[in-house]
């Protein structure tokens, strides 16, 4: 089983989303992004992580094996077309977006690409969108409102711009280890992910204690 963090644009929070999910679900990471930021976070915290090369047959085989495994794997993808392989075999693709115009147009492109994958062998691929690194502005509220009324994806909510996410990355831990308001914020989003990934089970059973 694969949960992928992917978007069609850089700087949206894919790696942040991936490590938050890996920490929350205590799931191994597959780092497909050549930048290797998720792998560095995993190394700091002693979290299981494999780095995979883009566009290799071995990577494709590894992703298929992970997709067919009952164990959850979290894949951190590079942005854009390069990262499509990382989400194409997933059960759920988490698409973080920010609230700028270019971000929203990229989100529309990403949803169209996901639909292409759904129509080509992965009809069960679910899509979840999270609005990342927002501030308390009218624009952010408006974008959130717009995302809530859209369909064809599950809107998970917002992650506010907080220093604690950088601190958690530096420490190689999830935000729950540092406490504060972000803990509840992330737990709410992860519970929604859990409901999508494990619909037959109580979401609490799949979260870290």
């Amino acid at each position: 089983m694969i949960l992928s963090a992917w978007s069609d644009k850089g700087g949206t929070g894919k790696t942040t989303a991936a490590i938050l999910a890996a920490a929350h679900f205590k799931a191994p990471l597959l780092d497909l992004d050549p930048q290797g930021d998720a792998a560095r976070w995993a190394e700091k915290g002693g979290h299981p992580c494999e780095r995979l090369a883009l566009e290799s047959a071995a990577t494709q085989a590894r992703l298929i094996a992970a997709a067919e495994s009952p164990e959850l794997h979290v894949v951190d993808c590079p942005p854009g077309r390069d990262g499509v392989a990382g989400m194409a075999f997933a059960q759920l693709v988490l698409v973080p977006t920010r609230s700028g115009d270019a971000d929203l147009v990229a989100l529309a492109r990403a949803l169209a690409l996901v639909r292409t994958v759904q129509e080509n062998g992965n009809p069960g691929l679910e899509v979840a969108v999270v609005l990342n690194a927002i501030r308390e502005t009218g624009r952010a509220r408006g974008v959130s409102q717009g995302l809530r009324v859209g369909s064809g994806y599950k809107y998970l909510g917002e992650i506010k711009e907080r220093l604690v996410y950088e601190e958690a990355y530096s420490a190689g831990v999830g935000v729950a280890a540092l406490g504060g308001a972000a803990t509840d914020e992330v737990a709410g989003i992860m519970n929604k992910i859990s409901e999508l990934l494990f619909p037959a089970f109580d979401s609490a059973a799949n979260t870290a204690s």
Partner: protein, 140 residues
């Protein structure tokens, strides 16, 4: 018994491999892409450059009837891939005509109200246009 198609990793792999071999052209979204220049930001205090579309021969997109200037004729962009530019400078993206019209409608509204910051309802409406209409996603 469910008739829903099942996960077929070999078909997905085939899609990916085809996309790789053909410059990933096979992974393009279903609507025929059209190159257009659109503004990088709508959250502005002053009117910005208008998105371009082929309105010379077609009907005026809705929302342009309140004294707004018509968009200029379509220009041909040389770069085949999306180029994102920070700030409020124009960006070049691949969009379907419906997306372009959604953005043009939005930009026209901006031109009607120079100096006015956009409210939630306007941005929500653009999001709705972008995410629901152009992609053919069913309404809730």
């Amino acid at each position: 018994m469910s008739t829903k198609p099942k996960f077929d990793p070999s078909r997905v792999a085939s899609l990916l491999n085809r996309g790789t071999e053909e410059g990933r052209g096979q992974l393009a979204p279903a609507p025929a892409p059209v190159l257009a220049s659109v503004p990088a930001s709508v959250d502005t205090e002053a009117p910005t450059e208008t998105a371009t579309t082929d309105t010379d021969s077609g009907p005026t997109p809705p929302g342009l009837g309140r004294g707004a200037a018509k968009p200029r004729a379509r220009t041909t962009a040389a770069e085949p891939e999306a180029a994102e530019v920070a700030g409020k400078r124009p960006i070049t993206v691949r969009l379907s005509e419906e997306v372009i019209h959604a953005l043009v409608r939005h930009q026209a509204e901006l031109r009607c109200k120079p100096g006015v910051r956009l409210g939630e309802s306007t941005i929500g409406g653009v999001m709705d246009s972008l995410l629901r209409g152009p992609l053919g996603l069913p309404a809730q």
